[in-house]
Symmetry: D2
Subunit: 492 residues, 4 copies
Amino acid sequence: MSDEIMTQRLWTGDYYNEGTGRSDIFDTLKEECGVFGVFGHPEAASLSYYGLHALQHRGEESAGLCVTNGESFNYHRGMGLVKEVFDRDKLESLVGDRSIGHVRYSTSGDSRLTNAQPLIFKYRDGDLAVATNGNIVNAPKIRRELEQSGSIFQTTSDTEVIAHLIARSPKEFVEAAKDALRQLVGGFAFLLLTNDKLLVASDPNGLRPLTMGRLGDAYLFSSETCAFEVVGAESIRDIRPGELLVLDKNGLREERYAAPERKALCAMEYIYFSRPDSDLNGSNLHASRKRMGQVMAQESFVDADVVTGVPDSSISAAIGYAEQTGIPYELGLIKNKYTGRTFIQPSQELREQGVKMKLSAVRRVVEGKRVVMIDDSIVRGTTSRRIVNLLRDAGATEVHVRITSPPFKNPCFYGIDTPDRGELIASAKSVEEICKEINADSLQFLTPEGLIRAVGGDNQDDYKGGLCMACFDNDYPTRTDFDGEEKFGCTC
Amino acid sequence: MSDEIMTQRLWTGDYYNEGTGRSDIFDTLKEECGVFGVFGHPEAASLSYYGLHALQHRGEESAGLCVTNGESFNYHRGMGLVKEVFDRDKLESLVGDRSIGHVRYSTSGDSRLTNAQPLIFKYRDGDLAVATNGNIVNAPKIRRELEQSGSIFQTTSDTEVIAHLIARSPKEFVEAAKDALRQLVGGFAFLLLTNDKLLVASDPNGLRPLTMGRLGDAYLFSSETCAFEVVGAESIRDIRPGELLVLDKNGLREERYAAPERKALCAMEYIYFSRPDSDLNGSNLHASRKRMGQVMAQESFVDADVVTGVPDSSISAAIGYAEQTGIPYELGLIKNKYTGRTFIQPSQELREQGVKMKLSAVRRVVEGKRVVMIDDSIVRGTTSRRIVNLLRDAGATEVHVRITSPPFKNPCFYGIDTPDRGELIASAKSVEEICKEINADSLQFLTPEGLIRAVGGDNQDDYKGGLCMACFDNDYPTRTDFDGEEKFGCTC
Amino acid sequence: MSDEIMTQRLWTGDYYNEGTGRSDIFDTLKEECGVFGVFGHPEAASLSYYGLHALQHRGEESAGLCVTNGESFNYHRGMGLVKEVFDRDKLESLVGDRSIGHVRYSTSGDSRLTNAQPLIFKYRDGDLAVATNGNIVNAPKIRRELEQSGSIFQTTSDTEVIAHLIARSPKEFVEAAKDALRQLVGGFAFLLLTNDKLLVASDPNGLRPLTMGRLGDAYLFSSETCAFEVVGAESIRDIRPGELLVLDKNGLREERYAAPERKALCAMEYIYFSRPDSDLNGSNLHASRKRMGQVMAQESFVDADVVTGVPDSSISAAIGYAEQTGIPYELGLIKNKYTGRTFIQPSQELREQGVKMKLSAVRRVVEGKRVVMIDDSIVRGTTSRRIVNLLRDAGATEVHVRITSPPFKNPCFYGIDTPDRGELIASAKSVEEICKEINADSLQFLTPEGLIRAVGGDNQDDYKGGLCMACFDNDYPTRTDFDGEEKFGCTC
Amino acid sequence: MSDEIMTQRLWTGDYYNEGTGRSDIFDTLKEECGVFGVFGHPEAASLSYYGLHALQHRGEESAGLCVTNGESFNYHRGMGLVKEVFDRDKLESLVGDRSIGHVRYSTSGDSRLTNAQPLIFKYRDGDLAVATNGNIVNAPKIRRELEQSGSIFQTTSDTEVIAHLIARSPKEFVEAAKDALRQLVGGFAFLLLTNDKLLVASDPNGLRPLTMGRLGDAYLFSSETCAFEVVGAESIRDIRPGELLVLDKNGLREERYAAPERKALCAMEYIYFSRPDSDLNGSNLHASRKRMGQVMAQESFVDADVVTGVPDSSISAAIGYAEQTGIPYELGLIKNKYTGRTFIQPSQELREQGVKMKLSAVRRVVEGKRVVMIDDSIVRGTTSRRIVNLLRDAGATEVHVRITSPPFKNPCFYGIDTPDRGELIASAKSVEEICKEINADSLQFLTPEGLIRAVGGDNQDDYKGGLCMACFDNDYPTRTDFDGEEKFGCTC
């Protein structure tokens, strides 16, 4: 008996997203960053605290905030969650009505406090703060050129290059910023703050989400609309590809620094990253994900006894699948919500004995049942295999895996931390082979067409529904190599 | 516009259950405590850490653990969550193969560290540690008598009386404990530890859950089965009413200290307290709650566009209601998961401006829709009114409230912290009046019969399905007053 | 060269008294405790904070404070320094005009928070708090008797027995306290607080210092007068042997519970424990210690080039010795002031390489010089040997050690933590043998007569100058064994 | 009576130097910084921990350490004391055999973590770390020029300019550093670290102390020799004015980047800043300060009953004064050693009632006595007045103030934080006027000649004894204004 119990357990490494609980079992596909800006509200720092907190799932490693009252910068950055980095005293010391804030996810060894954003610079015209989400593909090349002509850098973050480009330009600030932005290739959302102005920019393909809201007379900017809800603000519109907004004492000025190119918003924001209560392109994401489950059910129905979703990100899709098929939705998998970074890991001995920390199958729900397990993606395949086995060990007689995205085959160059192509299981293997490897009875992926249909709305007529699906189909909207060197991952 | 936004927000006080997220909007019906015991495992402290963590939703105020290797006690108690109270160094210092642990919820001003359990005593025969869940109705009377004869107390916890009763008895330990237990009236689950023995006892009605598991040769005891799952243990059976288990060097001995009375397990454990992945009386609680939603749908169908549950405790029931009615289940309400005790509360100004911390309605889901809102109970009514208004302000055209328990009319004497009868809205008002007060379009409660049916299983033939439903029907299984003084609330 | 440097270093274990810096090189003779009481001041808690802080050198392990406003107790205790245990919020929550506080030094494994004083009890007549300094020689005997009749204890502190004796007495509180005090044998200073009364008591020999002060209309009580200076209070008088002060709504009542016996104030308070700016029996301690140095110079002059004192406790005596002899006082030894409990200890390798943390000889001061090294006591001799070698390695040509106390030969039964008699070097060896063992060129101790003369004042005519010198001459003022069992050390 | 007590108290603001205890009553003359470098020791980080700790009195605001193993930098910086900034884990992560460390005092609002040193830069040739003590008078001018040509800065610290000057130079690193150093005017000690090399430089006047030691094969560099003693190293020699030491795989190379100018070591290092167990120019500072007291006694004897020094910095001089005059040295003033940054300040009410935190007069020592009070300097005069009044209120019949430095009349441009000239009392008033203002019976300052004589040794023949006494005589060794703008204070 105890053997059976022991193999039933799951151990999924020590990364855990306390808030969303989503990434804990996806040990490879990590969040990027989130930005939040305020212009014209006397409690800019407090608003940002709640706003950044709503974006916490986009980055849990460090948080920062830079506020100005028009005279000078007040800022604070620290390692940890928003609620750990800021306390009441710190917020009260951040006086001003304009601010930019940032939550950061970092890939590994470079998780130094000095890389925490907003980055702050002093140059000829005064102070400059920068917060960004995304990745600049040609940053290494630009950096090398700047260093050759005597620039010194404080961080390993490529975000620093935009400050140098601006400082080196003979033009005034807004024009200098436009010149600088035009030199960058990649997917990015930028907030730039001086004591006079707030600048807001999106890359020419609109790869990363960035949206505008209003609270009374104040303008707010956020990676996701859920942050507007939390602070009681009204959602206005998304920032457009190639757009540059300038906010200063004359109010808001809508400019552009580049012609818009093909609209290509990251598909993974729909599938997995953004919060279910955020809207993308005017659609609620819980609803979109439920539609993914429904389309999935149309595309690949399977007769079964229960539908269960891998918590938390696939619950919406699982409910959609259940509704469409009439198979009941059950709580077959449960996540331990308390676990977090400070949690003590079990000893090797206890781990072998079956102490499980993050995810467990609910035996009374799945025992003797044919289970449809809904998940949002398969990266390396190891996690999927573990969850399938967890269900089998708890007595599931069949496990049918349904993935609400197409096979993930290519690395992302625009801010999502993905493993090398060689580690992406879908890059090398067929669906049948993956099915076998993860020990499932059947496996189906959502088709690209199904994904576009589920995302739906006014995107339908756009090229590929206005989505970047390069990770599925290798069709990248920008150049991706410079000096023969590919750079993927996350800049911030 | 801003008026509308402002009234749309919810502010629910500063209590928050970080783990379950359940009690944050029920500002009056609080958890009781949880206990976890180990006998015969070399890593008793580490197992208890994971076990208590799985019971964290039963008490977030303090945590404690007492371990013995047969020679002497090692113990640690602290204010806060399990993961805050213990670190690796502390766990490693708690050497021994037997232990009792406790998580505690406390009612208010008495949240002193000195009340944190396990309580530790030194008496004639050595060391004694006690951990309990429940309430001893006649504790004040016993305490007065003890004080009159010269006893001094260290805590305000009534748990201390059992130690005095044992210390005063001329009999040996097990018999002294039986004598002591026989003097207690109420609902309680006790773990008592000496350097020689572990004693496990349940009150004669089995009011509070307490269950036994095995891990290899070790015996485990827990308030809920979910803690066994987490540590890889097998669930064996529930402790029986009036039973006293004795574990010592001779192994497990099953005794009783009192004849069992009417079986009366707390109905609110089914409805609200226990974790959805725990089993009670052999039934999975997610499944039981889903059945409550289904029975509810049969009892009080209403035509609507969406079903939504108040997170997190009513999600299961909402899905059941949706399945039964065919009305789609949607994410109409969302809870902010990061919020916790350390979170900074917004200023009065920001609060008025609409900063909402814990619960928000998802406008795109409920706007223009007729909504069925599933919740598990109504205590004072204020919270329900807020949530209904939240949905209305987000555009819901109708809000139909369905409560998966009968009206809550009477205080609990067995460990649940309830307000005075005068504050219980169902005690004074009719369902129609409550419906009006909470601003709902319709309101229905689950019937007692429906509840028993949903809980189901082998309980069906027991008196009232083996449940204590005194809070609904005023039929208390024990005496409730002594010296003319009623004592309700939680002993631990 | 490096060999010479390496042997020049000193490593003195990991105990360090951050405040006084005194005990760091006396690894065996440890402080006892300190008490501070307030009656009748609206800011009793804040006064106690500063008062206990001034007594910090008497106990660095834990600190505690219990305050009452006449209605109920507010208290807080914690491990660490006064400034670590209390913060502004905690002080502000301790509302009341009467209080007793405590700083505690503990001997070892028993340093549990539960032993931190004031101890708090609940008994028939309400709440009782107790703070004490000293040792009750017959506490184990009393405790055994209490346990036999059913008492349970929460701590390992013998202070708890007085609470049980009071609770068991049929008399009213003050008389019950007198009865209880009469049963105790030893050296002790007691503060007892109820919601009505503050009781202040000293043992019949006045072994432990306890003194009274006034601040406006309030009465203050403290182990040392330095705490009065810090809070701006006036010093009034010492508590007399066998005295019991009762403070309540009728003001101060001076009573006694026992006839005074031979006055016997601890000589080590003069020599070493009390702060140099405190007064004992009306004499300033810096001045007393300087006189010890002067008398020492008269008793045992030696021709030398420099006089240096072992910091910090022997600086006063060294200056006295220098003044009397005309040999210049120099800074031959220096202590590193930052070191404290949180300081990282060097690795074994670095320690061997000469990293020294606490004390170093100043080469330019002692090189080529004949040095008189003044110290206050020799316990085991190991530390003295290290310091002598330190001076030699820094180039001293001769080292003459002068100790400002008689040889320490017997353990203390009244609150000072001393090693067993077998470890006291003076118990087994002659002065010549000790001189050889510590590698000094000459060694002299102050005579008992010289000590009495230096302490001086109105004590001269008392038996032994009113001092307890049992650690020097084995003449204990009380019985020291009960049931054939000796108990020495510190009760608190 | 209480009036008298109330005026007797001292309140000296909330700055306190926990380690030296010296600056707590000089609310205006603040420490500068300290540097510590290691080349060639496998435990460079641990050595630096102890070394920086020994230099803690030179800067308590932040501490930092950058270590390299020849491949890459590991560094850590934080706000607080050395023992707070580093723990064992951090030290163990700082692997390498070469390091530079820094403790920083900062003047006020600019106490940001980003200014904590060592500063770290990335430039064309790799990584560069810089730690400095002192002030660069022409830094603002250089910075403006750099910004005009496109440089961006991360800190407000002028130390950053040297990194930019090096990064902009077309020459290789050592030559680029020499060029850069030649452009700087001021008083400074520099440590520069790359993965290949450690550079050590002193300004052409040798204004700031910087000294070299050896530990086995390793070279150490420190602001003061006391840090060598602590780690068991041998003191070798001071770094010479205009010298540049280069340490790399070829060992130590002694070069210069500028011709030495007039030797002008800061006189305040002798009088007040450096630790008494450090050597400056081969003389022990306790001995030097004692000689200052002796020379003072010869220059301005006064008949009195006791001599007392303001702790801790003037104890040595007071003993010298006492020895020379035969007037006994007594402990007339005592400092509370526990007080620190975390200490709670008394409420206004308690302060008025006489709670004193830092310094108190010992009544039994000074009552009815004529007191000579030795202090090291008078800056604004307010503190001196407070201490004189403290002594008078404790009963001193006469207070004669003797200051062991000439009148402080001019601001420092080389790293000491001084108030504006207008606030320096000696700048505007005569000695008689100051005497009156501080309420003394007599006041005398040490003469410049007396100071030189006391400092003594081989400096006697140098111009002004090799000292910078600009703060006394306005004779600055360098230019002090650029672009018409004076810059004084501290660069680091």
